[in-house]
Symmetry: C2
Subunit: 265 residues, 2 copies
């Protein structure tokens, strides 16, 4: 049955949005909706304009034999700034301060209403590097990493701090913690392989030892790390165990010594 | 600037899809797009028809002063069956069998291309019970729970097996493991409160002791559990520590003694 043009456009748009960064065949759309590929191409152009206007990203069309199109995430600067600003404000409230220059943020990351857009923001930042897999470490970084992976259309690999029978075979990697102890991380052998482009995503970076551990995991698998993105980076210590990373927010000590969170420019 | 009708429809549809189950103000849409509320209502009816046709769900409109509309997830029976069938087939492959009636499934749950639709399926099953929060336990259930919570437009609360300074204050609950030992679970005090309606989501249920532990956590907070949904339930032991739950898939022992996964009817 032929649907109306408007219905077809909404249905096509929904497929791009439900599975961002994943190719949808234009030939398949043309066959399913019983219209020519030229009509489908016009439809895609309209959807592209609407998504850009909405500040979500754009539709990329791959010409040639595969003939697919996909939504490439790119959050608008205005939305990004106001969204991160409101989260920084929430996190700076008195009732969130924990002992030891720590703040309570897990309710933000465990709420998909926040973690979803945060992952979309990180995906927008790193989409150009075309990662194959998002790597994170358990536990609090998982929702952020999974939404980043969702927006990038790629799988997630989780570094675990123990390995159990139900987790399957894994590679163990040893790395120094911030306090000089040696810690162990496990990565399931199914999740990574040589030459894969890895994007590291983590919730919080203080000294950067966990991120440095994840670099070692990638190296052990002969995979290439193409970027490291974190939700919050603490300004102390200034010197981190990793040289390159970008953070959405920064945790600083205010003039009165009280922790506060700012948007990273 | 006024946009064309088609562009407006696509932009409106994208907002329903990006934040399912969350109310969008019809008055707000009417003001932003500079058209009457009658026009917006007609638009919403078209979007509703397209989403139903697409097998995603429907748009619910709340009349009255708040005047909001939202996408209520309801996966079509056909898509659900074929999607779960393909996952059951993947999981039944020889190379996934682990010692002790276990199968390797974490790469499925860590891949948002699978975890997203699985969460959407669970959200479709439980939306009518109108939960306020999705509860899960670390680690492998988190992606499934977060996508279920995303589709239901509600936050997630994670039961942890240890409590550290950065996790903030928590309530500890003790529960018997399947082997008769006593285990401890922690739930952050920010995540739950009296009278909240809780949906428990977990990755794998063998004897049901973890789910039973989560019931104790909910009881400790005087919250009400409105349902328990799991990705895979093992057919052995038949008797579980919880009386009510529903599973998407079932792990059975075939005639040759080899584990296999079936879609739960």
């Amino acid at each position: 049955m032929k649907s109306t043009r408007t219905e077809r456009l909404i249905r096509m748009a929904s497929r791009f949005l439900v599975a961002p960064s994943r190719q949808i065949s234009l030939t398949g759309l043309s066959e399913q909706f019983q219209v020519s590929k030229t009509v489908i191409s016009d439809d895609v152009a309209i959807i592209d304009r609407s998504m850009r206007e909405e500040g979500i990203g754009g539709i990329c069309v791959e010409r040639g034999r595969t003939g697919g199109a996909f939504l490439r995430p790119r959050l608008s600067r205005e939305y990004r700034r106001s969204f991160l600003g409101s989260i920084a404000e929430t996190l700076s409230q008195d009732n969130r301060i924990l002992p030891g220059m720590l703040i309570h943020y897990s309710d933000i990351l465990f709420n998909p209403g926040f973690a979803g857009p945060l992952g979309y923001a990180l995906a927008s930042d790193f989409a150009d590097r075309e990662p194959d897999v998002v790597m994170t470490s358990e536990v609090k970084g998982i929702p952020l990493a999974v939404f980043t992976a969702h927006a990038l259309g790629i799988p997630m690999a989780v570094c675990r701090f123990r390995n159990r029978p139900s987790d399957g075979p894994a590679v163990a990697v040893h790395y120094p913690s911030g306090r000089g102890e040696v810690r162990t991380m496990f990565m399931g052998t199914r999740f990574l392989s040589a030459g894969k482009k890895v994007l590291i995503i983590d919730d919080f970076m203080r000294g950067g030892s966990t991120a440095a551990g994840m670099l070692l995991v990638a190296r052990e698998f002969k995979a290439d790390v193409v970027g490291t993105g974190v939700f919050i980076a603490a300004s102390e210590p200034a010197r981190k165990a990793v040289s390159e990373y970008s953070a959405l927010l920064r945790l600083e000590r205010g003039n009165d010594g009280v922790p506060m969170v700012k948007v990273q420019d």
